[in-house]
């Protein structure tokens, strides 16, 4: 009761202030889980924000808060943005899910965009990217490039998002090279250069000469460079400072088109709550330039795969595929539906080891 009263009075005050000031300025707030200089996940969201700012210029005012802890801190930061008059708030981490829903309930007139979550409301949309499409291309290059037939994979947490990536990469690596094996190390972090470097070194010692990472720092790239003769891929950002070798390509999260579209929708009054899951075709997943370290024929094959994923003529999970235990996952020619992909909690046949619980 008290809180709604407070909000009502706050809204009243704000109404007076905004009426006087910036009537046609759209205010956006961005909440980041890491520092904008992480070179990965948060960095790309910040680039998305800057793209919005550049596109709309004076019509948009955007602010961000970085390194926000999940839980009550995130709730406070979002509430504060809403109190300060934000029209739309982008919450760019899975862990902001429940706080976003809580704050959204208190501010029905503010729109919220939550990245990678599954809870929506009338004023909360969710969005994520089909990173597994990019993983398919990495898997193909990895399978072709490895000489030891051992591909190392640095996982962050054993959640569907990451498992999906491992499966997609493995399926396409096996297609390119039937002898390939995956060694998976769980770092239990999204961003921790020291842990990621350790994981990379362990994998290299175990004979991996290609390293895929689902963590956000460039530490594995540095470790690979130091070891020599190890191929890596940029994650979230292009990580082109390690090109042309060890980094031979990358998956780039490109949020700019989505952020611009949603801001435009808000301004036009056409914004509505929805779930967006876009891939290479829509431009949300970018494939960083495949460097000259990759032979031309492999590069051409990778680009052909990219084109078929982009125009929808090929799905990264196309049968026949079995689960790790040998039971059927997809019949010949069948493709996985989004619900299965979203909750994926099993390895496909051929991957060794178990998913930690």
């Amino acid at each position: 009761m008290k809180f709604t009263k407070l909000l009502a009075s706050a809204a009243l005050v704000m109404g007076l202030v905004t009426a006087a000031h910036a009537q046609d300025k759209t205010k956006l707030g961005f909440v980041y889980v890491g520092p904008i200089g992480d070179g990965g996940w948060t960095h790309e969201h910040e680039k998305g924000r800057l793209a919005v700012q550049e596109r709309f210029g004076d019509k948009v005012e955007s602010v961000y808060v970085e390194s926000v802890a999940e839980g009550p801190d995130a709730e406070r930061v979002m509430t504060q943005m809403a109190l300060d008059g934000a029209d739309m708030i982008f919450a760019t981490s899975f862990g902001f899910m429940d706080p976003t829903i809580n704050v959204a309930a208190k501010f029905p007139d503010v729109k919220f965009e939550h990245a990678t979550g599954y809870k929506r409301a009338d004023n909360v949309s969710t969005y994520s990217a089909r990173f597994y499409e990019g993983r398919a291309i990495q898997g193909l290059i990895a399978g072709k490039m490895t000489k030891s037939n051992v591909v190392g994979y640095i996982g962050s947490y054993p959640i569907p998002e990451v498992i999906r990536g491992i499966n997609s990469a493995f399926i396409h690596a096996r297609k390119a090279n039937p002898d390939v094996q995956f060694k998976i190390v769980w770092a239990y972090t999204w961003f921790d250069p020291a842990k990621e470097a350790d994981a990379a070194k362990v994998l290299i010692e175990q004979g991996a000469d290609v390293i895929l990472q689902h963590t956000d720092s460039t530490a594995p790239q540095a470790a690979a460079q130091e070891a020599g003769n190890v191929v890596t891929f940029g994650q979230a950002s292009d990580m082109s400072q390690y090109a042309p070798y060890p980094r031979v390509s990358s998956i780039i999260d490109d949020w700019a088109p989505y952020y611009i579209a949603r801001t435009q929708a808000l301004m036009d009054g056409t914004w509505e709550s929805k779930d967006t899951w876009d891939g290479i075709g829509a431009g949300m997943v970018g494939i960083g330039e495949i460097s000259d370290a990759v032979p031309a024929d492999i590069k051409a094959e990778a680009l052909a795969l990219k084109a078929s994923l982009a125009d929808g003529s090929y799905h990264a999970f196309t049968g026949p595929l079995n689960k790790q235990d040998g039971t059927e996952f997809l019949a010949d020619g069948a493709t996985a539906d989004d619900a299965t992909l979203a909750g994926m909690n099993f390895y496909v046949e051929g991957i060794e080891g178990t998913i930690p619980q």
Partner: protein, 360 residues
């Protein structure tokens, strides 16, 4: 020539003045830092210290001070007991996590039964979890003479692995589509540590924090055990002669700080945080060490210090959002506070002497 001269007795006045001077110095040098970043230093300092308390939206921010400050007070009170006696529990963060896991575990086990007994049981379990986790370094120290600083600190990392395992496995929300994280206890009435009065920020953890302050004060000022703690810290040999049992003291101080950290954890997980998640712990256990020293290891001082730290956190976030100050600048600002405090502490025991050095 400037020389340091040991004071015959520690200056009581300076001991009390040091925190205030440290705050003043932090404001000054923090202002310089903000100015170098191209921001208006006065506006920045005002945003951090003034905005949460007296700004436009103070009605929202002031309750947040309680939410942010309560776990700091609870943990710091416990730590201060040991610190006074020279028993160094650096692992409160781990005890905080274990308290949360034990408490949330009990709550989740009863889901969806509704009963008034569930929340009290969770609180007890949380206290037990923190206490047990602190007993590991305590028993090892008493039995084998291990260093409690190292053992308690290392156990933080073990606790973090437990937390990740629980969030991904045993305590994962079965309706969470395979994503990590437990059910939200905020949506489970019997387990929810809700605000006692809506909009005040007052939850059971805040009540417990105030009780802990009173308890700490009475213990240290009036109780025999408090006397033993103080004597052991000031003069261990004298303490031994006066019949203090050092092993029992280690067990009590570590156990008590673990218990209070565990309580902080369970109140947080059942209230403001709501969920067991991989990143549940946000560093309260470590920040509480700063709070304990900033508060001069005195219960009332700790209360004030926790309020100040909470203020810099909340004000810091506002400054980030409003002035687009980088998060790192705010962290440097908070770090300065401890730095200046430790530097100024020197003058509690020493004084500056200006003048020519005597020639022999």
């Amino acid at each position: 020539m400037i020389a340091l001269e040991k004071r015959p007795e520690p200056s009581r006045a300076f001991s009390l003045a040091a925190p205030l001077l440290a705050v003043a110095a932090t404001m000054f040098f923090g202002g310089v830092l903000f100015a170098l970043l191209g921001k208006d230093p006065f506006e920045a300092i005002q945003t951090i210290f003034w905005e949460p308390l007296f700004g436009q939206h103070w009605r929202y921010y002031s309750p947040q001070l309680l939410i942010k400050g309560a776990p700091l007070v609870l943990i710091a009170i416990g730590l201060s007991l040991g610190f006074k006696a020279g028993i160094w529990n650096i692992g409160a963060e781990g005890q905080y996590i274990m308290g949360a896991l034990f408490g949330a575990g009990v709550g989740l086990a009863f889901y969806p039964t509704e009963s008034v007994f569930i929340f009290p049981l969770m609180v007890l379990a949380g206290a037990l979890g923190g206490w047990l986790w602190a007993m590991i370094p305590a028993v090892l120290k008493v039995k084998f003479g291990t260093n409690e600083i190292l053992v308690s600190l290392m156990l933080v990392y073990v606790a973090e692995q437990f937390l990740a395992s629980m969030a991904l496995g045993l305590m994962r929300n079965p309706q969470g589509m395979g994503f990590p994280g437990s059910r939200n206890l905020q949506q489970y009435a019997s387990a929810h540590n809700a605000e006692l009065l809506s909009g005040t920020g007052m939850h059971w953890g805040v009540v417990a924090a105030f009780i802990a302050v009173i308890f700490g004060y009475v213990l240290l000022a009036r109780h025999r055990l408090g006397f033993a703690i103080r004597v052991t810290g000031d003069a261990p040999r004298a303490a031994a002669f006066s019949g203090v049992n050092p092993a029992r003291l280690v067990l009590f101080c570590l156990g008590m700080s673990g218990l209070l950290a565990g309580l902080a954890g369970v109140f947080e997980v059942a209230g403001p945080a709501g969920q067991v998640t991989i990143d549940f712990n946000v560093g309260y256990g470590f920040t509480a060490i700063i709070v304990a020293f900033l508060g001069r290891l005195h219960p009332v001082g700790i209360l004030l210090a926790a309020a100040l730290m909470a203020l810099t956190y909340i004000g810091g976030d506002i400054a980030q959002s409003k002035l687009q100050l980088p998060a790192a600048a705010i962290q440097v600002f908070q770090g300065m506070l401890l730095f200046f405090l430790l530097a100024l502490d020197l003058f509690t025991n020493y004084r500056l002497r200006l003048g020519r050095k005597e020639v022999v």
